[in-house]
Structure formats: structure tokens, C-alpha cells
């Protein structure tokens, strides 16, 4: 009996959703705002990657909100899993020799790769969130290798706090200068070069560091939950 109800439910729901979604013919969605942004993004923000322009310049507050959400999730997980600053030693078996050496080799490479993604956020696809996650993966690799020296919470918390404040301060500076919060300031430089698109790369750098530190914190607190 249970089987029949599930199948009935599945088909019913999919038919309903299908009826609603099919008329959204692909490709004809009216890009009211999209066209305007495409046209004006390059000379407004100087960023080659238009998505970064939208994420940081046009809809900067969304990203700030997003950053806050990740920070809330991390703190809430910290509270729930109850990791205080004391570093307890977990009893998980130390990873094999291969993992340890691979970790040592891979760590610097991952670091470079992460920084590359963050710094080139306004040129190529990528940016703060993606770079930060890779950063966290790099740090977590170390704890995976030998569970002894896991991430020192005090350091990551300081990085996290500073990066977050940096992001907001960058916004506040534009508020002080032009009276509008989160407006891209600094000269735009010529398109495509590393130091172009004004304050966007700085914002992405702050974002990346904060996300990286936060996720590293999160992963280590997850790993160190008492067995």
C-alpha cells in the first residue's frame, strides 16, 4: 500500500510542477535588468567577469547578507557542537603514510590555487566563495593527515573577524566618501589587468579569507566532535 501512495504522490506532484514550468520556454525570458547590466557593467565597475560585477557592485548587499548567513551557520554549529577553545585530541586513527606525505605536498599547491581563484575573481569565473572553500579544504587536509595539530581556533577566529570587518569597512568607506554604502570606489584600471575593477578584488579577497577561515573552523569542529 505504501508503495502505491508514494508513486501516486510522485506522479501527481510532477504533473502539477510540469504544468507550471513547461511554458517557461528557455531563452525567451525578458532580460529587462540583465540587458541594462550587460550594457553598463563594464564601464560602471571595470570588471571583466560580469557575474562578479553583479555579485559585488550591483547586488553587494546580497553578498553581505550571504556572508552573514554563512557566519551565523558557522557560529551556530560552533555552539551546537560545543567546541570551545580547548583543543581536545580525537582518537581517530592517524591517516596512512601516503595521505600524510600527499597532504604535505598538496597543501602549498592548494593554497596557491585558492589565492589564484580569489584574486582573479573579477576576471575569470571564481571569486570569494569558491576560493574560500578551497582554502578551507587546504587547511582541512592538514588535520586529515595527522589529527594531532588541528587548526588553532584562536588564529582562524581572528582572521575571520578581521576579514569580515574589512569587507564592511570597504563598504563604509564608500559610504563616507560618496554617501552610498558598498559603492565600488578606487580607479577602475584598464580592463582585464590584475589590478582593475577598483575595490571589487579587495572585497573578494576579504570575502575569500573570511569564508576560508569560517569553513576551516566548521570542518575542524565537525571532525573533533567527541566520538
Amino acid at each position: 500500500m505504501q508503495r502505491w501512495t508514494t508513486i501516486l504522490f510522485l506522479t501527481g506532484l510532477s504533473i502539477v510542477l510540469f504544468a507550471i514550468i513547461t511554458p517557461l520556454v528557455l531563452g525567451q525570458s525578458p532580460m529587462l535588468v540583465g540587458k541594462l547590466i550587460n550594457a553598463s557593467a563594464v564601464n560602471d565597475t571595470g570588471a571583466a567577469n560580469l557575474v562578479t560585477a553583479v555579485v559585488l557592485a550591483y547586488r553587494g548587499l546580497d553578498t553581505l547578507g550571504e556572508l552573514a548567513i554563512l557566519f551565523t551557520a558557522a557560529t551556530a554549529i560552533g555552539i551546537i557542537l560545543g567546541t570551545t577553545d580547548k583543543t581536545q585530541t580525537t582518537s581517530s586513527p592517524t591517516a596512512g603514510f601516503i595521505v600524510a606525505t600527499a597532504a604535505k605536498v598538496l597543501f602549498p599547491l592548494l593554497l596557491v590555487f585558492a589565492l589564484y581563484i580569489i584574486l582573479h575573481g573579477h576576471l575569470t569565473p571564481g571569486g570569494g566563495f569558491q576560493g574560500g572553500a578551497v582554502l578551507a579544504a587546504a587547511f582541512f587536509l592538514l588535520t586529515l593527515a595527522d589529527s594531532g595539530n588541528n587548526i588553532k581556533h584562536k588564529v582562524t577566529q581572528v582572521i575571520e573577524a578581521l576579514a569580515g570587518t574589512a569587507f564592511i569597512v570597504l563598504g563604509l568607506v564608500s559610504f563616507a566618501l560618496q554617501g552610498v554604502f558598498l559603492q565600488p570606489w578606487l580607479d577602475k584600471g584598464e580592463l582585464g589587468s590584475l589590478f582593475s575593477a577598483g575595490s571589487l578584488p579587495l572585497l573578494y579577497l576579504a570575502l575569500g579569507l573570511k569564508v576560508g577561515a569560517e569553513l576551516a573552523n566548521l570542518l575542524s569542529s565537525l571532525a573533533n566532535v567527541e566520538k
Binding site: F129, Q130, A133, A137, L219
Partner: protein
């Protein structure tokens, strides 16, 4: 040409989604969920959204994958489905 790639990814996605919900051991569920994320990455690439594809790859596949793995370890379901301790598996099925 990319229609064929699209059809393959879509079918892979749907099968992986079935496995996520109906698989027995959580080990296969984790694998299936990562497969779904990978399929998603491919889709986003086809939909001309490289930024989103990269995010989905890093956050969807890597990060959530690791977090799920860690949780499975913590609630000691992190076992290949060998038949001696079926109680854990059966407990997770019903």
C-alpha cells in the same frame, strides 16, 4: 552535439537522485548525492554559467560531500554495506 551530453547528464542525474532517496546504505547515498552535484556542474556549464558551475563544484561536491562524510562518521554509519551488522542499515531503511 551538446544535446547528447545534456541527455546523458540528465539521465545520470535522475538515476543518482533515485539512489539518494531509495538506496539502503548511507554510503551509497553519499556517493549518489555527490554524483548529483557533479551532474549539476555539467548542467551549469551547458547553461553558460561558469561561475555557478565552479561554486557548485567546490561547495556542492567538495564541501557538502566532506561535511556529509564527517557526519556519517560521527553517527557511525560510515561502513561499507557488509552484511554482519545489518541492524544499522535496516534501522536506517524503514
Amino acid at each position: 552535439m551538446n544535446i547528447i551530453i545534456l541527455v546523458i547528464t540528465v539521465s545520470m542525474l535522475v538515476i543518482a537522485a533515485f539512489y539518494v532517496v531509495w538506496a539502503d546504505s548511507f554510503f551509497t547515498v553519499l556517493a549518489a548525492s555527490s554524483m548529483v552535484s557533479v551532474g549539476l556542474v555539467l548542467l551549469f556549464v551547458l547553461l553558460r554559467a561558469p561561475d555557478v558551475a565552479l561554486t557548485e563544484a567546490v561547495v556542492g561536491v567538495a564541501l557538502t560531500g566532506v561535511i556529509y562524510a564527517l557526519t556519517l562518521a560521527k553517527i557511525d554509519l560510515w561502513k561499507i554495506n557488509d552484511n554482519d551488522d545489518n541492524n544499522d542499515v535496516s534501522q536506517s531503511k524503514q
